[in-house]
Symmetry: C2
Subunit: 344 residues, 2 copies
């Protein structure tokens, strides 16, 4: 068996911490024998949750921390001042090579800032994007960037495209993934200043399968495998997908409960409808990796339950075994900066 | 009875022209006695369609044109060279006061360029936004801009907010509409350069009910009445809504047909599910007006059927009767330009 993949888990992050984080860690070490998890969080609270479960103790540890970074805290200040928070301590363990990956359901801003300042970027990477896999009618689709770089530059989108292609081929197993640029029309000359400048740069890349622009309405149908955009539009796409799906589920339920005939029909349809709705749940594929750092950092939804935490931990195994970061270094067209890999 | 509202209809625009356009015009004059419609299009083709129907002939006319602007044509060039196209002739009739409004399912780009060049903007309006009403769980929501200004400036968004508020209050009848700025977080300081600069300007307006930022996932639930954004994000929001709704409909249908039990349940649920899906169809509220022009220009979906065309024609009645353009001039904080209302 290959060596263990060591994951630092933020036990204090997200709406249901520490209970769901701890349960997710327990499920991960029970179901995946290649992972070793360390819980970063308030000792008493974490141990109280751990006491509820039976699990392989040699692969699940606790690293006590005394501070917590709240969701609404200004990220830069939080990272600088709360040195003994679960996020800072967890990220530092990746920086120092004690862990391979850090997983959190906590503050996106603190994770982004901390990931760059404490773990550091791969040499030549301009900005790390959040890259969630989203479910479509045609399988998973990697959408990047979804929240890190709101005013992105064309050269950053060019890097997102290459990282996304490597990730999709190796972690998800899609051969020669179709990489598309999100735009408001199919034609090359459509869009805003950013997409007009980015399109020819993507078309000129020899290391991705660029299939042109993709419009939003084709995203839920999975018309591409990797979709590249700035974080502002990416967030609109991701959150509209989630919001519309949730709204439809609610409306279908209300329609079913509106009459006796509806209730009977709903009872008959429950198994298939449940399966359909589950297929398009955001928790299906775990968290969003922050790609392009020297270690792996994964952010899950703030309202993540144990199942999302578990999937997020498990995806770290493939990431390490496929040597994704080495592939980024080898296969991407990275500008040869003279400086070393960036740390704070 | 008040005077008739005269509508120029592009009989050649959209995927199903001229058949659906002509049928929509016939339905409009039959169902709404306050409208007078003139069909702009190829004479023989339009008359062949008209021959299929009985309708009040004194309120439905044909203005023959010889050219057609195709969907993919570069708009500026098309508007300049195809003087006898249905779009140019229809817009010119509004410019010259022969008609109050122009309705088309044709090229968005040509409609936008032609609307500004041929009809002209209201004095002080910087850029006209496309403003569709979209269905939510909580009633209609006005989303602007949805395709006209991809690299918008803060002052333009400030005008969109005021126009949207006036439109929503008068055309849709929502008292003191909640106006929100689309953003990737709820806090005032979130977002990109555009939203950060726009937020305080909206907060300072005394003529709208600004309720702060709205995130994408709250849009399908109708957490605001008017949502202001740039056309790039607006297009992402609108098209993700349509695409996700269509994908879910398809998936629910497939789930139903996957088993005998499912088919039986589907049969029982058909009436209520059909109603739910129809409620969130984009054709519910007709077309998207291009706000801020000296006349009214309405763009409907390229795949619009007769029902959308009819609704688009009918919404011109409220627009004129409520004197929306006069209200824009009176109630908005418009910069006092020295130049006259812009025409080409």
């Amino acid at each position: 068996m290959s060596e263990l993949v060591r994951v630092a888990l933020d036990a204090m992050g997200g709406d249901f911490a520490p209970a769901e984080a701890v349960k997710g860690a327990v499920d991960a070490v029970c179901h995946e024998e290649r992972v070793d998890v360390t819980l970063y969080g308030t000792e008493d609270a974490v141990n109280a949750e751990l006491a509820k479960y039976t699990y392989p103790k040699e692969r699940l540890h606790v690293h006590p921390t005394t501070e917590v970074i709240e969701m609404a805290e200004p990220p830069v200040n939080a990272i600088r001042t709360k040195k003994d928070s679960s996020i800072v301590a967890g990220l530092m363990s990746v920086r120092h090579g004690e862990n391979d990956a850090f997983v959190t359901a906590g503050s996106s801003g603190a994770t982004l800032v901390g990931g760059q300042l404490l773990v550091g970027r791969i040499k030549g990477i301009e900005r790390p994007p959040f890259a969630p896999l989203i479910p479509t009618a045609n399988g998973p689709l990697l959408l990047l960037d979804c929240g890190a770089n709101v005013d992105a530059r064309p050269t950053q989108l060019v890097q997102f495209a290459q990282m996304g292609s490597i990730y999709m081929e190796n972690v998800v197993g899609v051969k020669n993934p179709r990489v598309a640029l999100f735009n408001i029309g199919a034609e090359a000359e459509k869009g805003n200043a950013l997409t007009k400048e980015t399109y020819p740069l993507l078309a000129a890349l020899d290391n991705i399968n660029f299939t042109g622009n993709i419009e939003a309405r084709d995203i839920p149908f999975g018309a591409a495998d990797v979709v590249v955009t700035d974080a502002f539009a990416g967030n609109a796409i991701l959150k509209m997908y989630e919001g519309t799906a949730d709204m439809f589920k609610q409306q279908v339920k209300e329609a079913i409960y509106s009459s006796t005939r509806g209730k009977l029909g709903g009872l008959l349809l429950k198994p298939v409808l449940g399966k359909t709705f589950k297929k398009f749940s955001t928790s299906t594929y775990g968290g969003a990796p922050l790609l392009g750092l020297t270690g792996l950092v994964v952010k899950t939804h703030g309202n993540a339950k144990a199942i999302s935490i578990e999937h997020s931990i498990e995806q770290c195994v493939t990431f390490k075994e496929k040597r994704i970061n080495d592939q980024f270094r080898e296969k991407m067209h990275l500008v040869d900066h003279t400086r070393k890999e960036q740390k704070s």
